[in-house]
Point group: C2
Chain length 125, copies 2
């Protein structure tokens, strides 16, 4: 077997890998590209709030890590698409998206309760 990678070790390459994929921009881009290959501008419009620079940087990093591919299309425009490796990322990352969207109320409620308790503590010590 291979040298027993573990993300809990600080210097293990899997730690850097985890940091790359456990990232909101990565998650959104992979989820979008799973539907269909997209052009730069399409991604830029779909991921609201991302700047061109950050989008470029993220796409380059994902390309370098072998998760996406920048392919020249017949129409002369480049499109970004998932590689086989990138496709294996879709399930876990879209699970994160689904979780975030379906548990918004739970999280918001928890925050209200936490903040209310914190206020009570400071007001009546």
């Amino acid at each position: 077997m291979t040298p027993e990678w573990t993300v809990f070790s600080a210097e293990c390459p899997s730690r850097r890998s985890l940091a790359r994929i456990a990232n909101k921009w990565t998650a959104m881009i992979v989820v979008l590209l799973h539907e269909e290959p997209l052009r730069f501008g399409e991604l830029h419009r779909a991921v609201e709030g991302i700047t061109k620079k950050v989008l470029t940087d993220t796409l380059r990093a994902l390309e370098r890590d072998g998760m996406i591919d920048r392919a020249l299309h017949r129409d002369g425009h480049a499109r970004y698409e998932l590689t086989d490796l990138g496709r294996t990322l879709h399930a876990p990352l879209s699970a994160l998206q689904v979780w975030a969207e379906s548990h918004v109320e739970d999280v918001l409620d928890a925050q209200d309760r936490y903040d209310a308790a914190a206020d009570a503590r400071t007001l009546a010590p």
Copy 2:
């Protein structure tokens, strides 16, 4: 139905939620706490490379978002444990860990290929 949360909208609360859970520290802590409740020092030792400050900050944020609970044990020591909400996070986050550890070689190879191609491009233009 609720107001159609989507992480692709910049101001949607689900975006902040996604940013919280799509995070290496969150992933590691949730995976560890799924085994058993742990004390601060145990977490600090298990998550190699995390500082006490970052661990405190992350634990507080997760507690505020209702994902973990700081419970006083019979032995007088506080232990951190997953809430019901936090337990629903385990599957997606441990999937990320598993992905990162099992695809290290793929990623490392892709990086080598990418860097070699980039070198070739700059040396022979």
